[in-house]
């Protein structure tokens, strides 16, 4: 049927325009390089995950201690290492504050080209 084909043609045109939108909106970009995390940013992200894990583990330990699931002896044995781990992750993150944040940089940009 002609109306069906006409509708399909409209759908196809709209789809093509939508797909081509990134090129139509930005025909001559300064850089067409896809963002990626710099190695330092990846390291920083790993540290942030480690920090969050350590803090969550501390919170969990406190809660389990309060509910009686962890005895006083177990609590004392575990809380120290966990605090140290969290502190180490925090310190490492602070030390890395000056480095490139997780901003995405192309390899050539990082190389100063």
């Amino acid at each position: 049927m002609e109306w069906a084909l006409a509708l399909a043609a409209v759908l196809a045109v709209v789809a093509v325009v939508f797909v081509a939108r990134p090129f139509l909106r930005d025909p001559a970009p300064a850089s067409d390089r896809l963002d990626e995390l710099a190695p330092e940013a990846r390291q920083r992200l790993a540290l942030a995950e480690e920090r969050d894990r350590a803090l969550a583990a501390l919170k969990e330990l406190e809660f389990d201690h309060r509910t009686g699931k962890v005895s006083n002896d177990d609590y004392r044995a575990q809380v120290g290492p966990l605090r140290r781990r969290a502190a180490e992750a925090l310190r490492a993150l602070e030390r890395g504050e000056g480095i490139t944040h997780e901003r995405v940089t192309a390899p050539e940009e990082r190389a100063g080209r």
Binding site: A4, L11, P29, L34, R42, L61, F63, T67
Partner: protein, 653 residues
């Protein structure tokens, strides 16, 4: 109208193919605009598929028999609701539903995570690879838009599918099956992009939970449909197609537990990838079983030449997953080790092993008859005793672990702490076991063990809430600050109700079957059922009969009306009649077949099933727990947003 449907599908196929090819090239060559363009193509595929779906729904609603699909699955007299439900009643419609849900999910997931470009650049082609297969099948192998000169009437719908539950059961299962594609696409995207941090887990956490919930609820509704509609008195027959939905659900359950260990301890990265791949590939396998006609069961009513294509695609996805995981092993290995075999993470690991073992034994039970026929030409079947054996072997320890896990602390637990926390649940279990033995419930050991373990689990869940409330100050604060944990406990309570319902209704049921003339009676578990007579009935597209059976016992008097419907086109179907007994939370289930119409004799089957209604109650509790676990936590969202802020990543759905 069919031209519009066909064209819309072709446009969708073109868009998806573009998303796959251009998206892969853009991710590989690091082209930003091309990657965005591929992303847009994937998003645009959804409206195109939606138009095709609306065309088919319109044709079904109008009973336009010039559509071969409509002719195969409806008739002029089929009520509108069931005619529309034929959308997922046949093979082509089911494939279209798969593609519709997949493109919808993919478009939404991609759009919500669009700022995480490095990861999304690879997630888009993975989604497109899966969607491309279904679009290809619909365009070139199994189209729902084949036309013919209109015949006088359609072939109708299988009578057992003419049930309100069938309006919800298949779509919910598909929402679950297809939903597992989201964590799979993100996991594979993470492997391809090398972003093996927790970003993909954060982005898909709720998607996985939602898919798992849909699968769980879909199965329960399917079980209820089987119970009220099929007329054999059961709710789960270990049918291969029922198993097809259970296997990915078990794998996803294992993943939901083990992913917590990765989030809390940074462990099990490889295992989690394996579980995500297993869950998705099992959901594909489930669709293959249902739609390829490889298994002859009541669900596999549609057969067409898609089996070979499906098998090839399933093989491709399995190889794709294994190769990617193997390639990225160096990135997935972690230094963290299990500190103790007595810890929360260790119980999660045991739970994982049991869940996967159960899923794989069920898989073997499904595969064995197929392989036996394919390789040796012998028709073999794997029946209930096989599945029951493994359900008892793996299911009972799983039930017990559900109670042990919450009582054990993370990292490691001393024997003294364990003794203290286990005391009350252990006492509850022992008292329950002894009381049940004394009351004569020792006739079924699995049933007795299930109830004893259930008492342990129930006590541990109650204790968790009581102690937690005491520590947090109020129940609301406790739950709102730990939604995943306490939502999870409510889901555990639902599983507990399910286990009690299954054990009660199977281990302690009473079954009687007898041919009766009007005025004759049969006794079952304290009830007396007297057959009074039968009457003919007429529905919109069927005729039939209903018997009148007067029931008395346990201080109750009521009448049941089991019978049969004879559908004009589709044939006969049993109609059960059920009384819900609030006293035992159980049912008196009856079904009847005419033995001699002239004498008015019927073959009456009576099943008294204690506690069976707990199974359906479990469904509501399950949904409540899942919703609590899924509900967004503003504090956590903020923390995660801050973690990924510089990567400009929102916390996902």
């Amino acid at each position: 109208m069919a031209d519009l449907g066909r064209s819309a599908l072709l446009i969708a196929f073109g868009l998806i193919a573009y998303a796959l090819i251009a998206g892969s090239y853009a991710a590989w060559k690091r082209r930003r605009r091309l990657a965005l363009s591929a992303q847009n193509a994937l998003i645009a595929a959804f409206p195109a598929v939606l138009i095709a779906a609306l065309v088919l729904l319109l044709a079904l609603g109008r009973r336009d028999l010039t559509f071969v699909y409509v002719w195969q699955h409806t008739s002029h007299k089929l009520p509108l609701g069931y005619a529309l439900s034929a959308f997922w009643g046949g093979q082509e419609g089911s494939l279209l539903l798969w593609l519709l849900v997949l493109t919808g999910y993919a478009g939404l997931a991609v759009w919500l995570n669009r700022r995480s470009r490095e990861l999304m650049a690879w997630v888009v082609p993975v989604f497109a690879l899966i969607a491309g297969f279904f679009a290809f099948m619909l365009c070139f192998v199994s189209s729902p838009f084949h036309m013919q000169p209109a015949p006088a009437d359609g072939q109708g719908m299988v009578p057992s599918l003419q049930n309100p539950y069938m309006l919800a059961h298949p779509p919910l299962l598909y929402l679950g099956y297809v939903g597992l594609a989201v964590p799979f696409a993100f996991a594979m995207g993470a492997l391809l992009s090398g972003r093996t941090d927790e970003r993909w887990i954060v982005a898909t956490r709720r998607w996985t939970l939602a898919a798992w919930t849909f699968l769980g609820v879909g199965q329960l509704i399917g079980a209820h449909w089987a119970y009220v509609e099929i007329g054999w008195g059961g709710y789960y027959a270990w049918d291969p197609v029922e198993n097809a939905a259970l296997m990915p659900w078990l794998a996803a359950t294992a993943f939901l537990h083990s992913v917590m260990i990765q989030e809390k301890r940074g462990m099990l990265k490889v295992w989690n990838m394996v579980l995500v791949a297993l869950a998705f590939n099992l959901s594909l396998f489930g669709t293959f079983l249902t739609r390829s006609g490889v298994i002859d069961s009541i669900h596999s009513f549609a057969k067409s030449p898609i089996g070979g294509w499906f098998l090839a695609f399933l093989g491709l996805m399995i190889v794709f997953s294994i190769v990617l995981i193997y390639w990225r092993l160096p990135l997935l290995r972690t230094k963290t080790r299990l500190e103790s075999l007595v810890s929360r993470e260790a119980t999660f690991l045991y739970n994982n092993l049991l869940l996967v073992a159960l899923a794989l034994t069920i898989l073997w039970g499904v595969l064995y008859p197929i392989l036996s026929e394919a390789v040796r030409g012998e028709t073999r079947s794997v029946s209930k005793p096989y599945y029951d054996f493994f359900l008892h072997t793996f299911g009972l320890p799983l039930l017990l672990l559900m109670g042990i896990g919450p009582l054990v602390a993370w990292r490691r637990a001393s024997l003294r702490s364990l003794g203290k926390t286990f005391l009350i649940p252990f006492a509850a279990a022992v008292m329950t076991g002894v009381a049940l033995l004394a009351l004569g419930f020792g006739s079924s050991w699995p049933g007795l063990l299930a109830y004893t373990f259930a008492a342990f689990v129930a006590a541990s869940i109650v204790l968790e809430f009581v102690r937690g409330r005491r520590a947090a100050g109020s129940l609301t604060r406790l739950v709102s600050r730990n939604r995943r944990r306490y939502g999870g406990y409510i889901v555990h309570a639902a599983v507990l109700l399910l286990a009690i319902g299954i054990a009660g209704s199977s281990a302690y049921q009473t079954v009687r079957q007898r041919v009766l003339r009007p005025g004759q009676s049969v006794e079952a578990a304290g009830y007396t059922l007297t057959y009074l007579g039968s009457n003919g009935i007429r529905g919109p597209n069927y005729t039939g009969f209903r018997s009148a059976v007067a029931v008395s016992g346990h201080g109750e008097r009521f009448t049941l009306h089991p019978g049969m419907n004879n559908y004009a086109i589709e044939g006969p179907a049993t109609e059960a009649s059920i009384y819900h007994d609030p006293r035992s939370i159980g049912d008196v289930f009856t079904s009847a077949q005419v033995v001699n119409a002239n004498r008015g004799t019927i073959d009456l089957k009576v099943e008294v099933k204690p506690l069976i209604n707990l199974i359906w109650v479990a469904g509501f509790v399950f949904v409540a727990g899942a919703l609590i676990a899924m509900w967004p936590d503003a504090v956590e969202q903020k923390r995660l947003a801050a973690r990924y802020a510089a990567g400009a990543v929102p916390a996902g759905l």
